[in-house]
Point group: C2
Chain length 409, copies 2
């Protein structure tokens, strides 16, 4: 194995030397005792200046401007940050994206709004392997409204295809709920073709962008997407439990009604009106007070992303996953490890998933040693590669540690 | 006016000198350029160590322990912090309180759960002057479920009484939604008697604790309360948009179902199960990923509150509001200002509201000068007095500035 590792290490070094984004690594806070962090697709790392940003906020905007900051800058944060995500990352013109709530709560609001727009249709389709919270939200809404929730099977490695959708969507289908990038396999769904196919049958589509936003270009407007939700604590490094974002196509907004009627979504926020009247546009998807503190780390990361550009980020992501696939083939396949992610870079997102029955025992030992991939029951490891904070050398160190762990076990 | 001010200032100094909680003032971050902050009931001030706490969190728990922190400490934060609030502040035994989401979203979950428990009843009662988001959430739920939302009038200064409830609740009433302390007048509702009266008619009660938690003792278990929601960015100093908390009486939990089915509320969070099964107990009211960063400042303030004790905090609150009422009588009443809060300390919470047609013009000038009360349209000023961070001298400075502002105008 030593020769192979030496050769792969030289390759990783070359790639890092040639990496136009290499300088960004230094902008992240050092992770003490960690030699390979391969879970940035689950929890992105903080920036070096995140602590100072928070501290300055506490002293100035919160501690000294105090309540005045709501008027001065906080009230518009949900739409301002939404528009920045829209422009830099998801191909959404202004006025269609907000930041707030958790992914789950936004999924609930958007799915509720979508099915309410389709009174003659009684079925929601969801990919059977979609992330649990997506499936649970859909199940709860179907349960409450007497709809049928139908689970769509998809290839576990290749993911959902336009043919799957064409075969499943009918005139009964109100809404199709899909992940753009599968949280397990990393498979990319063809957003444009699938959306068009669903629309052909009069169905709406909600895209979950949790595993695609920040690591590959998303083009919601170009795909004439209806609804989308995404998370900011993965590739957007917002910190644990940072708020999610929601996109609603401008052409649909005035037709939608979401169920959680709160003061921040009302037409006249401080009017203390007797009856609720939804704000025009995307603001109607807000409910409670914006989680301002939680939105701060995200702002720092957006600056980096705007500086780097999503095309460059995607190029590095492909380079990182390609190196990992090569290393898996050379170092792990001989030890019985299966590759559960597509070999075609066009078909995979920012992470690579592998399977082996020994992983449940191995991962806790890796974590103790400062090598941190993600474990997925029953026997999967996700190797998440966050392009701005991960080097090729680091990614390789992770695969080598897995190989050594399996050898030693 | 000078003599009166001199006398009141001497009185304030005496009260501050004798204040057993005076030492806590130094624990708060200095507010640069602010001579009187009288809006702690809207946004509490940060602690002196809040910035350092956040910075340490960024470097260690988030930046170095990374994803491992979920297992090590974050997953249980919603219930751990809930139990601390339960014990220190709201008279709730463990296992009945969670922290998460916004106040609006938790109001939605709890109201939805409550009306679903009462299938034979078709009416929700809400105090007509309740905070807009409470009314809007109730209106949205009534709209979605075909229920009637009936608005209860109440005395604008004295607030809602048990007689009001006795006259209004019928066998049609599913749920009564009330604020424990009125956000405008500061009137305290008699939680125990009102709950008992509603229960006598088979109605459930949801208490909004936003303006009572942290400033006066709340005894939910002793009042056999059903549901309660509160906010952590006012007297709990959690920072702008920090998460809310929800209480569901243990005797009801297994009978409840809330509508936002997410992975964190599922019985087996990481089981990635095919179907949603709610967690036993209060955890079923969780939905998405907990907002960990937003929960940090709150933890520091809870330490102070636990140290001070809510009985002492309430005693100082009464002393502060009494001084303000006296100063309003002496300095503002002669200038045409009306007191809109009860003179009876037993009937008022932590803020004092006053009215004058000139306040809309005056408040922006006060804010510029670093005197910061809360303005409420059309002509109200709320003087909020957060006992651990406010001195009697500061409260008086605020009233004097209002008097001078009206004189100069």
């Amino acid at each position: 194995m030593t020769d192979q590792i030496t050769r792969l290490a030289a390759q990783a070094r070359e790639l890092d030397d040639a990496d136009p984004l290499a300088g960004f690594i230094e902008r992240f806070a050092p992770a003490e005792g960690v030699s390979a962090y391969l879970d940035g697709n689950s929890l992105g790392r903080p920036l070096r200046d995140t602590g100072a940003r928070l501290d300055a906020f506490v002293r100035h905007e919160w501690g000294s401007r105090l309540i005045r900051s709501w008027d001065e800058q906080w009230l518009d944060l949900p739409t301002e940050l939404g528009d920045r995500i829209g422009a830099a990352l998801i191909g959404a013109a202004p006025g269609q994206t907000i930041v707030g709530d958790s992914t789950t709560v936004l999924l609930y609001k958007l799915m509720s709004a979508a099915v309410a727009m389709q009174p003659g249709r009684d079925e929601v389709l969801i990919e059977a392997n979609n992330f649990p919270t997506d499936r649970f939200v859909a199940e709860g809404i179907a349960h409450a409204r007497g709809l049928t929730l139908r689970q769509l099977p998809a290839d576990p490695v290749g993911g959902i295809t336009v043919a799957d959708i064409a075969a499943a969507v009918t005139e009964r289908t109100a809404l199709v709920v899909l992940s753009h990038v599968d949280y397990r396999s990393g498979a990319i769904a063809d957003m444009r073709a699938i959306t068009a196919e669903a629309h052909r049958h009069g169905a709406l589509v909600l895209w979950d962008l949790c595993h695609s936003v920040g690591v590959l270009p998303v083009e919601l407007d170009a795909a004439t997407a209806d609804f989308a939700v995404g998370c900011t604590y993965k590739y957007l490094n917002g910190g644990p439990g940072s708020p999610a974002f929601a996109y609603v196509n401008a052409s649909l907004q005035e037709l939608t009604e979401q169920p959680v009627w709160g003061w921040m979504g009302a037409a006249d926020v401080f009017g203390m009106r007797e009856r609720y009247e939804p704000a025009p546009g995307i603001r109607r998807f807000l409910s409670g007070t914006p989680a301002v503190l939680s939105m701060l780390p995200l702002q720092g990361m957006l600056e980096l992303i705007e500086e780097a550009g999503i095309a460059q980020i995607r190029a590095k992501s492909v380079s990182l996953t390609a190196l990992v696939v090569t290393a898996v083939d050379e170092l792990l396949a001989p030890r019985g490890v299966a590759l559960l992610t597509s070999r075609d870079p066009e078909r995979r997102g920012g992470h690579v998933t592998i399977g082996h029955e020994g992983f449940a025992d191995l991962v806790p030992r890796l974590w103790e040693d400062g090598v941190i991939p993600d474990f997925r029951r029953p026997d999967g490891i996700r190797i998440g590669l966050s392009p701005l904070s991960t080097t090729h050398a680091e990614a390789l160190r992770g695969v080598v540690a897995i190989a050594e762990g399996l050898t030693g076990a």
